[in-house]
């Protein structure tokens, strides 16, 4: 940030390591995530992608004995600082999960609840409409807002979950394999939506699907167990998606993206 030409960063990690008890699941991650860009995290199963993602909004707090070292900085504040409220962190860094998980309430309530507990004072109808429009779901549900969210299809449910997240106006949205439980068509829809959302939000997505990462993201972080025998994952290459997929620097990245890993 020395010059005003450097891009603005939404989040920055400094020597971030994440532990489950004594087990270091993720080690020494240093990343600068640009604002209003989509950053994909890819890597083989168990390399700590979800762990890293969940560290960003302190969802890992719910795992007993987990802790982090290093820093995650957002506008200069360390999210793991002692004076930081994790509830507030989660409010400003929303999360969308692998399996759609709407509340067993009406479509309307699904969105309104989060806003309400976060002290929203404005016009709720408007907020609901805007959130649904923002997640490209409004046209499909505007006449059935009182229907249970469970009556929606999987893909629609996932978009509802996105609507619910943007309703509380976070600045960053985390997505952990948001389309892996969906059929190909719904997957494409979610990908479309991400392109829309990126205009206003910073998005970090974990995905197993390399084509998906290549399609949707601007930057890609390649994670892998840091060395043979070790069980800690780390980011081994982080750069523009184009570069990762056409001409990666790291041999392991190359092997992984070309499907020759393992």
């Amino acid at each position: 940030m020395q010059t005003n030409e450097t891009p603005e960063y939404a989040i920055e990690t400094k020597d971030l390591s994440i532990f489950y008890g004594a087990f270091k699941a993720v080690s020494d991650v240093n990343m600068l995530l640009e604002k209003q860009k989509i950053t994909a995290i890819i890597g083989p199963s168990g390399c700590g992608k979800s762990t890293l993602l969940r560290a960003f909004n302190r969802m890992n707090d719910f795992v007993p004995n987990s802790h982090v070292t290093g820093e995650i900085l957002m506008r200069g504040q360390n999210l793991y600082g002692s004076n930081i409220d994790p509830v507030e962190v989660r409010r400003s860094i929303g999360m969308v999960f692998q399996k759609p998980n709407p509340f067993p309430k009406s479509i309307y309530e699904n969105i309104a609840w989060g806003a309400r507990i976060n002290g929203f004072k404005g016009n709720m109808d408007e907020l609901v409409e805007q959130s649904l429009r923002g997640s490209a779901l409004w046209e499909e549900v505007k006449d059935v807002l009182q229907k249970s969210a469970y009556e929606l299809s999987g893909g629609q449910q996932q978009r509802l979950c996105i609507a619910r997240t943007i309703a509380i106006q976070p600045s960053i949205i985390l997505m952990d394999e948001p389309a892996s439980a969906l059929d190909p068509i719904s997957t494409l829809r979610i990908e479309e939506l991400m392109q829309e959302l990126k205009k206003n939000y910073t998005i970090i997505i974990v995905t197993h699907n390399m084509q998906q990462a290549a399609r949707v993201s601007d930057y890609t972080a390649m994670m892998m167990l840091d060395k043979e025998g070790s069980r800690s994952g780390t980011v081994i290459e982080f750069s523009e998606t184009k570069r990762i997929f056409t001409n990666p620097k790291d041999k392991r990245t190359e092997d992984y993206v070309t499907g020759r890993f393992g």
């Binding site: 999210l79 929203f120 805007q130 429009r133 106006q169």
Partner: protein, 311 residues
Amino acid sequence: MKNTIMENKNFRPLDLKKKMRPGESVIQSLLFISGVLSIFITVAIVYELGKEALLFFNNPDVTLTKFFATTQWQPGIGLFGIWPLVTATLTTSAIAIFVSLPLGLAAALFLSEYATPKARSTLKPILEVLAGIPTVVYGYFALLFMTPLLQSIFGESVQVYNMASAGIVMGIMILPLIASMSEDALSAVPRSLREGAYAMGATKFETSIQVVLPASLSGVGAALIIGISRAIGETMIVAIASGSGPNFTFNPFKAAETMTGHIARISGGDLSYNSIDYTSLFAVALMLFLVTLVLNLISQVVVERFREKYE
């Protein structure tokens, strides 16, 4: 309409600072206290039973040798051999398990593997009704149905109060428990496993016995242990049907008093709190508690193992 969502103007300024949430902590403390109460109950049980039992064992007349090495139990007149109570408990429980285990397991197999979903959804609740009938009713059944039945089959050798009828009825009482728990264990075996077996050309029977049953064995084992524990702790059936008065015998057609039956009979009357009879009851109860505790612990470990397998 201007979409302010998409413009992302936060309705509350971003402030990650810690907030005070006193309500949360108060509630958490209350809930914690509720949780810890159960510990107090156990402590109370151990303490109370232990305290009185200690009084019993501290009685100069009572020695451990007498307690474990003699076969007559009449604390009131200085006979402290626990064995008659134990053998009666063992006999009735053994009969109960002997009845309920094969029947329960077979019924469970039928329900989970053969019955149509519709049949299962009516039969299983019926079994559960059977499990929900108060044991005192089973006592009535044992005394007024099973005993006459046994007498009509085996003749005079069957006493009016006898362990066989109590044991069999106890078996009937435990049967639904074992069937139901085993059925749960069997149905918890994923469908995919059955399909895997069928797809290899296995018949239904081969699938049930050679794939499903082994896969659920620990669940069935847990059911068995729980069944034993229930049989040992069961009071009313034996109190009604098995006879009063300790009797050192393994003959199922004879009357004999189990540990539970003994406690129920003695404490039913107006018992003076500091008599040897009173404290002896606690000694018996403590034994009962310890035995069932061990069995429950074992079954928990078994169940835990079983759970892990499919999760």
